[in-house]
């Protein structure tokens, strides 16, 4: 199955496999091509997700005002250009689903795990190129199903991205809980299969296919992050699959796993003995680790980029690895902090408060280590570096408010308000997105052999950075005023009239920020074809991917796979002329490898 992946070194890579358009660009088993496929699919889904957020932000700022954009895009859901309340909830729901799963899980982790794991550990390809291909095509299929669900007669799923039953289980409770929700569940089931195949592949590859000399303590932090992320995914995604399956049973086969004692639209339903709280447990058993599935790859990417562009070793390599492991472990035992007021036993709430606040410790270590890496560096302000610094900034801002939300007593009053929306968008949404952008700017030359335009990159970063804070910083305060999230309009509550202006400002920032992503899209697609040709190692980086030729080839390296003699962070090491020493350069006589 993985015949071409474990090609032996004496194999002749000069001879050409007969490659047709289909095997090269569509059903490719080459990890570099699959990475590009993930990236482009994720980008397209991202455009849909961001467009949705701009639409519902417009509704929040100018409630029930006719809008050409709505009329053009929403059709029957915006009679006369006024957005319907059902489609508002659907937009919120699908925005969340797309951004969390399709963009920041598949688009981020799928792209960079695939691209970097073989290249940075010195492998010819993934352990199983075939499974890798299947994994991508399942992801593609799930994206198609999700997009199709937008066109269902009664509307797409609209129960929030957390799809709590009974709302998501009963078509009479909400139009979107009919065929729209069925497609949502089918799409997610396929997505989970895709994610599991991918994760297993990543784990096996990192364990088995490291080149000679690449011990675990010499792995770049990117690989550590992808490796641990894959493990979290394998542990937690199946639980969401089981929740989805049980929900499908409740919806279609009359079981009562999550439903009990329901009277709706004048009739009593037969369900008895189930509990929606059970669903919440199952959902968040994935849902919380999912936050780290999204965030850890971004943190891994920034570790690499900050070290390279600071021309300094990453500070506290071992502490960084330990904190990734600690975060991974803790992330699986904190899910209950989403459920303090769900009706579960308050004592459980105490336990989850304790574990949740513990997770702040490894997070703080990471933040301080990043800052110390900058200290006395020689910072190369490439766009990737800017996005990495931006990530550290939003990670701190967003992470700190976690101290409030993780505290059960404080959560009572801000639970499900805009405070929560602001918190998780900064700490995981924007941070992970910055990580993704940083990765794209940094490894674009590796992916496409061409450079992105840096000035457009600067423009993209600075506008995005200002808009991200402009949108989400004031949002905390609206939340502290008690404004619940997922309200179609706030005009029924004069109490909140004094937040209306702030909502308009937030929407303005959102629109500007959204529109300026066009600069990135332009730069991205234009540079694929017309960008300046890249040199082999443009950022003067240490890791192995930059020892591979610019032109892609099966097996990554012509001839022998490079051997590794040192860790990935020998930047500005005394005793060397250059300010970087690639991992495949042997130690000179008498040189000591750093004990890390």
């Amino acid at each position: 199955m993985s015949a071409h992946a474990d090609t032996h070194e004496h194999d002749d890579h000069g001879h050409h496999h007969k490659e047709t358009f289909v095997t090269k660009y569509i059903f490719s088993q080459d990890h570099k091509m699959i990475a590009k496929q993930y990236l482009i699919t994720g980008t397209i889904m991202g455009v849909i997700g961001v467009l949705m957020s701009i639409m519902f932000r417009m509704q929040i700022a100018w409630p029930e005002q006719p809008n050409v954009l709505f009329e053009a895009l929403l059709g029957k859901w915006a009679p006369g250009g006024v957005m319907d309340a059902d489609i508002y909830l659907a937009l919120v729901t699908i925005h969340g689903t797309i951004m969390v799963f399709f963009v920041l899980t598949a688009g981020l982790s799928g792209t960079f795990s695939n691209l970097l794991i073989p290249l940075q550990i010195g492998a010819r390809d993934m352990a199983s190129g075939f499974l890798n291909m299947i994994s991508y095509w399942l992801f593609f299929l799930s994206s198609v199903v999700m997009v199709i669900s937008l066109f269902v007669e009664a509307g797409p799923a609209a129960a929030g991205w957390t799809i709590y039953p009974p709302l998501s289980a009963l078509p009479m409770a909400q139009g979107g809980s009919g065929a729209g929700m069925t497609l949502w569940l089918v799409s997610m089931a396929i997505f989970i299969a895709s994610s599991l195949l991918g994760s297993l592949n990543y784990i096996v590859t990192v364990i088995n296919l490291r080149t000679k000399g690449m011990s675990m303590t010499r792995l770049p932090l990117t690989i550590w992050a992808f490796f641990v992320t894959a493990i979290i995914g394998v542990v937690s995604f199946p639980v969401l699959l089981s929740a989805a399956l049980l929900l499908i049973m409740d919806r279609s086969f009359g079981t009562s796993f999550f439903l009990s004692d329901i009277f709706i639209q004048g009739e009593v339903l037969h369900y008895q003995g189930g509990s929606p709280v059970l669903f919440e447990h199952l959902f968040w058993f994935l849902g919380h680790p999912e936050v780290y599935i999204v965030l850890l790859p971004a943190l891994g990417i920034t570790s690499e980029i900050i070290a390279t562009n600071s021309r300094k070793p990453i500070f506290g390599y071992r502490a960084m690895v330990m904190s990734i492991l600690a975060i991974a472990f803790l992330s699986t035992i904190v899910w209950g902090h989403h459920m303090f007021i769900s009706g579960m036993n308050p004592f459980l709430g105490s336990v989850f408060t304790f574990t949740t606040l513990l997770i702040a410790i490894p997070s703080a270590v990471k933040a301080f280590n990043y800052i110390t890496t900058l200290w006395k560096g020689n910072l190369q302000m490439n766009p990737a570096m800017l996005f990495s610094i931006g990530l550290v900034s939003t990670f701190i801002t967003g992470g700190l408010t976690g101290i409030i939300l993780g505290d059960s007593a404080l959560d009572i009053n801000v639970h499900d308000t805009y405070f929560v929306v602001a918190h998780f968008h900064l700490v995981m949404g924007i941070s992970a997105l910055y990580g993704m952008f940083a990765g794209i700017y940094h490894w674009f030359p590796k992916m496409f052999g061409r450079m992105l335009n840096k000035n457009l990159g600067y423009l993209h970063f600075w506008v995005t950075a200002i808009c991200a804070y402009g949108v989400f910083f004031p949002m905390h305060f609206i939340g502290m005023a008690g404004l619940p999230r997922r309200y179609y309009t706030n005009s029924n509550f004069p109490l909140f009239d004094d937040t209306a202006n702030a909502n308009v400002v937030i929407t303005m920032f959102a629109i500007v920020g959204g529109v300026f992503q066009l600069v990135f899209l332009w730069n991205f697609f234009y540079s694929i074809f017309y960008g300046k040709k890249a040199v082999q190692n443009p950022w003067r980086s240490n890791t192995l991917e930059w020892t591979a030729p610019v032109e892609h080839m099966h097996g990554n390296w012509p001839g022998e796979i490079p051997h590794v003699h040192r860790w990935a962070y020998d930047y500005s090491k005394p005793g060397h002329d250059d300010d970087f020493v690639p991992q495949n350069v042997p130690l000179y006589d008498g040189e000591e490898e750093l004990q890390h």
């Binding site: 929606p276 800052i371 059960s408 335009n453 804070y469 008690g482 300046k532």
Partner: protein
């Protein structure tokens, strides 16, 4: 026509971006590695980092200035609310100290150490003492917060049944709230949605044979006597809802198939709260805004233009189409006013139709 205009505008934006790209492109001639940051880029972006630090501080100050006077964050109207507010303020102070300090370091370093050709960075990979310091400081601070938080949480969630709380059921359905008082015996009658009989006006599904339920009182406006502990029992008949009473720092989900609970003691009557200077200011502010929107409000016609403060119960868990308008007024009043109001209400037994 508007659609046409929009298309034109979009076209203009596209052309503008195209032109921008052209300018950037023309400005660059030279080697193939010219998309890597130069000393000039480092300098410019280094200064912009300092600018961005100022922007973060500015937006923080602006948010506090314009949005920070949320009376919801002080003036709690319940006994335990004061504890929550204290914990909130302590947490906020810690957060803002850490935020100000770390953002400064991050952006200042980005500015201070901006790259120059020929300079070499310091090879500095590890320092166990430093790392121990910034592991243990968070440990100590968080330990304090955890302990304070847990004590607060436990004291809020453990309802002391011995001080005779007023038992009230909050009943949620798409898309309204009802409240059921336990009557003179202060014991709620048994109920289940299977017993709902709209023909007999048994809208909450009370067991008609349960003697405890006969004196129950079902209302659509919540009245609470000031100073007396209330124990809410939450029930939902269809989907998840959440009973959110922000002024009392109280919230609990309503879950079909189970009864959840939350207890608190209201300490400020509605009349007193309306005279609170913070609330007066907030209401004046809101009314100034509403005066400007008078025409729009009158066109809809469901609200008075002049807003008067009231406590509210809101639904805070997505529950369907009209989630955004699921509310109930809460009135906190003196015991005498409460008794007088209660006397006017019909008991369950008397409200049944045949």
């Amino acid at each position: 026509m508007t659609a046409f205009l929009t298309i034109i505008i979009v076209l203009f934006i596209a052309v503008a971006i195209w032109q921008m790209v052209k300018i950037f492109d023309l400005a660059q001639v030279g080697t193939s590695n010219d998309q890597v940051a130069t000393d000039k880029d480092n300098r410019i972006n280094g200064y912009l980092m300092m600018g961005f630090l100022i922007f973060i501080y500015a937006i923080t100050i602006a948010s506090f200035w314009y949005l920070g006077d949320q009376p919801l964050m002080s003036n709690a109207a319940s006994e335990h609310g004061v504890q929550i507010d204290n914990l909130m303020i302590i947490s906020m102070v810690i957060i803002f100290i850490v935020q100000t300090f770390t953002q400064f370091l991050l952006h200042y370093f980005a500015f201070k150490y901006k790259g120059e050709k020929g300079r070499k960075a310091l090879f500095y990979a590890d320092n166990n003492t430093l790392e121990a310091i910034w592991t243990f400081i968070p440990v100590i601070v968080l330990a304090g917060l955890i302990i304070y938080g847990l004590f607060t949480w436990t004291s809020i969630m453990n309802v002391d049944e011995s001080d005779d709380p007023l038992v009230v059921e909050l009943y949620a359905q798409q898309f309204n709230w009802k409240a059921r008082y336990a009557g003179e015996d202060n014991v709620l009658g048994m109920a289940n949605v299977r017993l709902i009989d709209n023909n007999r006006a048994n809208i909450l599904g009370l067991d008609e044979s349960d003697p405890n339920g006969q004196d129950d009182v079902i209302v659509t406006e919540l009245h609470l006597p000031v100073g007396r502990p209330v124990l809410f029992k939450m029930r939902s008949q269809d989907v998840l809802h959440s009973a959110y009473m922000p002024h009392f720092r109280a919230q609990m989900n309503c879950v079909p198939g189970m009864i959840t609970q939350f207890g608190f003691t209201p300490t400020v009557t509605t009349a007193e709260m309306r005279k609170n200077p913070d609330i007066v200011e907030k209401v004046e502010n809101i009314n100034a805004i509403r005066a400007k929107n008078r025409a729009a409000i009158e066109a809809v016609g469901t609200q008075d233009v002049i807003y008067e403060f009231d406590y509210l119960l809101l639904c805070n868990k997505i529950c369907g189409k009209s989630h955004y308008n699921m509310q109930m007024k809460i009135i906190v009043e003196t015991q005498e006013e409460y008794d007088a109001w209660m006397k006017e209400q019909k008991t369950f037994k008397n409200s049944l139709t045949n």
